[in-house]
């Protein structure tokens, strides 16, 4: 019996090797027909290049395909920064037709590099005007979300301590050694939180914590003195160090404050079994930075008509109302209904911090460098 199994396995392996040898040769000799993936009716395929967090309900996508006759191919291409940089590098010879996932921290870089064709989407009038940042309509806003400090409700309840609400609170002694943040140099939420402090305290001040107007550097000096912990990415911060998350509990995380998303509490409710009546975490609404994500029609798109239709669809009500439970972001159109999960467990962020995209583009690297030498080193 063992001989038979072995022979079968050997045959299977040999077949696999043979097959891949063939495909390897096909690739090596440059058989281009395979490269287009979905084959001949390229006109009818619209390719959406996006980051890894993109998600949509299949049925919603089906509806688009039925309405327009275009089949959607989604290419996930790393995190938001990586995906955009790849698009910039391949400018003029894009991998797809539409790019989704430029946020306001990256917007200027995208626009300066001219990777998008202007297109005023049908239905743009339904979008709340504060999100329309590019007058030339090279990009169309699709969603927005807030990066805020989350807190572990149980921790603060146990100690009869009020959770912090504002950035100023975080520097107070009662919250010493409680906050964990992400590295602004390598993590998107980390950068957003840094930008929140820039938005709030301005670019003045000195890193020496002098008597001057108290810019973001002074604030971070205080945070550092108050025991802020920096880890590399959101996964470590939230899943390892934050005491309010499932992973953090198992990993004996001891930080009840973490930089995360305003939508994290509803997500905690949605992905629990059984679903709790109340979210285990809360949002400090005075610590938020608002991110808006945009989509744009790529210059050199092979299926421009399909791309335009897809952008139209993305600001349509169907897609907008699908987003919250798939990507955990907020719609940008006026009439979209938020799911009950969000209205019940989500936080309302009245006054998020913002920084103008061109200021971000201009200063980002310097800010990150300064921040690194101030906080990490």
């Amino acid at each position: 019996m063992s001989t038979t199994t072995r022979r079968l396995a050997a045959t299977a392996l040999a077949t696999a090797l043979g097959a891949s040898a063939l495909t390897a040769c096909g690739g090596g000799s440059g058989d281009g027909s395979a490269a287009d993936g979905s084959g001949k009716p390229a006109q009818k395929t619209v390719t959406l290049v996006t980051h890894d967090s993109f998600a949509v309900t299949d049925a919603v996508l089906k509806e688009f395909e039925q309405q327009t006759g275009h089949t959607v191919k989604v290419l996930n291409s790393g995190d938001a920064g990586t995906a955009l940089n790849q698009e910039i590098l391949t400018k003029g010879s894009p991998r797809g037709d539409v790019f989704f996932g430029v946020d306001n921290t990256l917007l200027s870089r995208a626009l300066d590099n001219g990777i998008f064709t202007p297109y005023e989407a049908k239905g743009l009038d339904a979008v709340k005007p504060e999100f329309v940042l590019d007058a030339q309509h090279r990009v169309t806003p699709v969603d927005s979300g807030d990066i805020c400090v989350n807190y572990d409700k149980a921790y603060f309840a146990d100690r009869k301590l009020a959770p912090p609400q504002t950035l100023d609170d975080l520097a107070k002694p009662e919250y010493k050694d409680l906050l964990v943040v992400e590295n602004a140099a390598t993590s998107s939420p980390g950068l957003s939180f840094l930008l929140a402090t820039v938005g709030k305290y301005g670019d003045g001040g000195t890193s020496q914590g002098g008597a001057s107007g108290g810019g973001w550097k002074d604030y971070w000096a205080k945070l550092k003195a108050n025991g802020v912990e920096v880890v590399d990415g959101w996964e470590q911060a939230y899943n390892e160090r934050f005491s309010g998350s499932a992973g953090g509990k198992k990993a004996k995380g001891d930080r009840p404050l973490v930089v995360s998303y305003a939508s994290s509490p509803p997500v905690e409710v949605l992905y629990a079994e059984p679903q709790p009546a109340e979210a285990p975490t809360g949002v400090a609404t005075g610590t938020c930075f608002r991110q808006t994500e945009f989509a744009g029609l790529l210059k050199g798109a092979k299926n421009e008509a399909g791309g335009k239709a897809l952008i139209d669809f993305m600001i349509g009500k169907k897609f907008q109302e699908d987003m919250p439970l798939k990507m955990f972001v907020n719609p940008v159109v006026k009439d979209a209904q938020l799911p009950e999960l969000f209205t019940k467990h989500g936080a309302v962020v009245e006054k998020p911090e913002t920084v103008a995209p061109d200021a971000i583009a201009k200063n980002r690297e310097q800010w990150v460098k300064t921040w690194t030498s101030l906080v990490v080193k």
Binding site: A16, L17, T23, F54, L89, G233, E235, A251, S260, Y271
Partner: protein, 538 residues
């Protein structure tokens, strides 16, 4: 020779050269002054220094810890050996984030070291070094142990009869014979740790940065291609230096050895020394590898309502809600296996041809090519990935969005393993055995099949195991390759971990466990492919 050369030219040299060129060349010509500028930046020298010394230290530590294990796996028989050999390879396939989690449970807050000795190693360089040992243990055990098992123990016995002590016999006879495999393993471990990314970040914290991290930041985050290009060149120089040292030290060492059937060299442990050694190795494996992996498994069953299979049940329901985000695990397993099989096939084809070509030729050109094959291990994944983008964009080679690019990129990392594991064994095959086959009527190809292949089959399977694991673990440039939504297991795990929620975390742990099982099962199947003993195949 032509196939491997073309493969490396097209999928490595050209993309990397293009992205470096893009960084250093502007309309005004080559900006070589940037090299000086970047190198003069404070911090860069520190990063380079840290990168190099932690890699050297990790390599030394890994050899120290894993060489006894290579002996134990090669020469001693004990129950569960095959399973354990597959288990030590598992760390290789796990996403770094998951490994970080597991490892923190060992050395971090509330981890084993703290509970036993009150020592916390996270955010220290020790955590980084230990994690590198954890990752690369299998590299040494498999590369060195593979050859060791086939060395004729009688030669060492001969030396002992001639009056050499046990250690002296080992040093005089076995070690020189093993040297090429040890050097190969050391170089691979060095390259892996030299380009270490996630481990350093997660366990060391943000204050530790390697060149790889800098290249990633400059390229993927800041799109500062000229700085990235300079750093890539620095990486190149360092890696080329190491490879040159390697080539120089082992050049004349790979000689014909007496290879025997590994099944006959292993025996149950004899005497206190061997039992102690076996015990020590088993304890190390248990503490360093099984324990962290066990933490993941434990967490995958640790549901809020007590231990249970809730997360696995949730996994099996995944995807029913629709959406492109969550993947049914079976589909992810299938995707992973398909990619891995394709990548293994390509790596075996390219690496096998390269190794065969390298066996029969000599000279500086061949040695250069030998080194070239190792380079992909030492060059940033992001450099290669971005290089693909700007080079493979024209028909007939518009592979940027093709699924094929994923196994091709994985094979790039797999090929050095295939070459490194096969070359020492191939070179050890006595040329006259081939001649014996030839005069008995075997054509060169047939002689290869009849003589070389059976003798290197073990090495081939080991190499295949590596290539497979490398691919299963989504190494290298694949992270930067856009792909139509066919998520593999590691991608699915990463997506789950990227979200809040108890169920997501639990499912990530459950899926990691599935990934471990898939890896272990695949490796065991590979090992079973070895036909028992020598019985004629006619």
């Amino acid at each position: 020779m032509a196939v491997p050369l073309a493969f490396f030219g097209l999928f490595f040299a050209y993309p990397v050269a293009a992205i470096v060129g893009r960084g250093l060349k502007t309309d005004a010509g080559w900006q070589l002054g940037r090299i000086g500028d970047v190198l003069a930046e404070p911090g860069i020298a520190g990063v380079l220094w840290f990168t190099a010394w932690q890699a050297l230290a990790s390599t030394a530590l890994t050899l120290l810890v894993a060489l006894p294990a290579a002996y134990v796996f090669a020469r001693l028989d004990f129950p569960g050996k095959q399973v354990l050999r597959a288990v030590v390879t598992i760390p290789f396939v796990l996403p770094t984030v998951v490994v970080g989690t597991a490892f923190l449970a060992l050395v971090g807050r509330g981890g084993l070291t703290q509970e036993l000795w009150g020592v916390r190693l996270d955010t220290t360089v020790w955590a980084i070094l230990l994690a590198h040992v954890f990752f690369n243990y299998a590299v040494v055990v498999r590369t060195v142990g593979g050859l060791w098992a086939q060395l004729d123990p009688r030669q060492e016995e001969a030396a002992r009869v001639l009056g050499a002590g046990r250690l002296a016999a080992w040093r005089q006879v076995t070690l020189p014979a093993l040297a090429p495999a040890v050097a190969a393993a050391a170089v691979m471990v060095f390259l892996f740790t030299f380009t270490s990314f996630g481990v350093v970040q997660i366990l060391g914290g943000p204050s530790y940065a390697t060149l790889e991290v800098e290249v990633y930041r400059q390229t993927a985050q800041l799109l500062d291609l000229s700085t990235a290009a300079v750093l890539t060149l620095v990486q190149f120089a360092a890696v080329a230096g190491i490879l040159a040292v390697h080539a120089w030290t082992v050049r004349r060492r790979e000689t014909a050895l007496r290879l025997v059937d590994p099944a006959r060299t292993a025996h149950p442990p004899r005497g206190t020394g061997q039992r102690l050694l076996l015990g020590g190795v088993l304890l190390t494996v248990a503490l360093l590898i099984v324990l962290p992996l066990g933490v993941l498994v434990e967490r995958s069953f640790d549901t809020p309502g007590g231990y249970g299979t809730g997360y696995y049940e949730a996994l099996s329901r995944a995807g029913s809600g629709g959406g492109t985000f969550l993947v049914p695990p079976l589909e992810a397993v299938r995707n992973s296996l398909e990619y891995a099989l394709a990548a293994t096939g390509i790596a075996l084809l390219v690496g096998g041809l390269a190794a065969a070509a390298l066996t029969r030729r000599a000279g500086p050109f061949v040695r250069g090519f030998d080194a070239l094959l190792m380079l992909p291990l030492g060059v940033s994944a992001v450099t290669v990935g971005f290089g693909f983008l700007i080079t493979l964009d024209e028909p007939p080679l518009d592979l940027r969005t093709s699924w094929l690019l994923v196994p091709l990129a994985q094979a790039l990392v797999g090929v050095p393993f295939v070459v490194r594991t096969m070359l020492p064994v191939l070179r050890a095959v006595d040329e006259r055995l081939r001649e014996a086959a030839a005069v008995l009527g075997a054509s060169p190809l047939r002689a290869w099949r009849e003589v070389d292949l059976p003798l290197v089959r073990r090495a081939l399977l080991i190499a295949a195991g590596f290539a497979f694991a490398v691919s299963l673990g989504e190494f290298g440039a694949t992270v930067f390759i856009a792909r139509a939504d066919r998520p593999t297991l590691p991608v699915a795990v990463a997506r789950l971990l990227g979200r809040a929620g108890d169920l997501n975390y639990g499912q990530a742990m459950a899926l990691s466990t599935v990934l471990m099982l898939v890896c272990a099962a695949a490796l065991l199947v590979l090992e079973r492919l070895r036909p028992d003993k020598t019985s004629g195949e006619f």
